[in-house]
Amino acid sequence: MAKLDNKKLLACCANGAGSSLMMENAINKVMKKHGIKPAELRHCPVSEGKSAARSYDVVFCAKTFAKTFEEAVKSGNTVLIPLRNVMSPAEIEKALQAKGLLD
């Protein structure tokens, strides 16, 4: 079973309407390529994500929000993945592999 099967994934950006939606699409492409079925994959604005982050296994954000989320997830087990290019499945794939979450 793939490591991200049944995990909860969240993509966040400031507004929850633009880049987080693109991230969700890009993450979805990576999941499909690797045949992974996450329990949940959604996007939301930072304001909501800050409190919700800890109940997710992996949180993706544009790197500009990395500091915001580092604080929010520091006491839990949530893995934070800051991205340079939010619409790049290749970057997402690489980042997940670097964290050992993807083969």
Binding site: C13, A14, N15, G16, A17, G18, S19, L21, M22, N25, A26, K29, K33, P45, V46, A62, K63, T64, F65, A66, K67, R84, N85, V86, M87, P89, A90
Partner: protein, 163 residues
């Protein structure tokens, strides 16, 4: 898949603008929203939320290849109808640097208004393809007229990325 592409709808609804240069990125954000204001898709003040957001979080709405996607939240104040706009600025618009010191610059602006979630999702999926299609972006940077936008799209069809 909608029968019309995002770029076709931009042309049809006259949501485009061609500008040579601007004094600031703030002005660019205001200008690219103007066609959306004139056609009743947003309130005149909508752009201010975008400017405030960039000031607060940095230029994260500016992507690779001189692409900017100015937008606010879904159902933001002053967002009336779902749309994507287009503005080409001939001279580079400087958005400063991001937190890591990387320069953020734009020539192509795709302002978003999100009200209808399905239509917005469809718009975003198409925009992602456009933003990854560098030959198309290059052609759009050279566009001078709405006809050029359609021609660019026809000449540079979306490629199935080999991801």
């Amino acid at each position: 898949m909608a029968e019309k592409s995002v770029l076709q709808r931009i042309v049809e609804r006259r949501h485009f603008k061609f500008v040579d240069s601007v004094d600031s990125w703030e002005e660019a954000v205001k200008l690219c929203c103007e066609p959306l204001v004139e056609t009743g898709y947003t309130a005149p003040d909508y752009y201010k939320q975008i400017v405030d957001c960039v000031k607060k979080y940095g230029p994260y709405m500016v992507f690779d290849h001189y692409v900017a996607m100015p937008h606010s939240q879904e159902n933001a104040e002053g967002a009336f109808k779902t749309a994507v706009g287009f503005m080409r600025v001939k001279n580079i618009v400087d958005f400063g640097t991001d937190a890591d010191g990387e320069k953020k610059e734009a020539k192509l602006f795709f302002p978003l208004v999100a009200v209808n979630p399905e239509e917005h999702l469809e718009n975003m999926q198409q925009l992602m393809e456009i933003f990854m299609n560098e030959p198309l972006l290059d052609a759009l940077m050279e566009a001078e007229t709405p006809e050029d936008i359609l021609k660019a799209e026809a000449e540079h069809p979306m490629e199935e990325e080999d991801f």
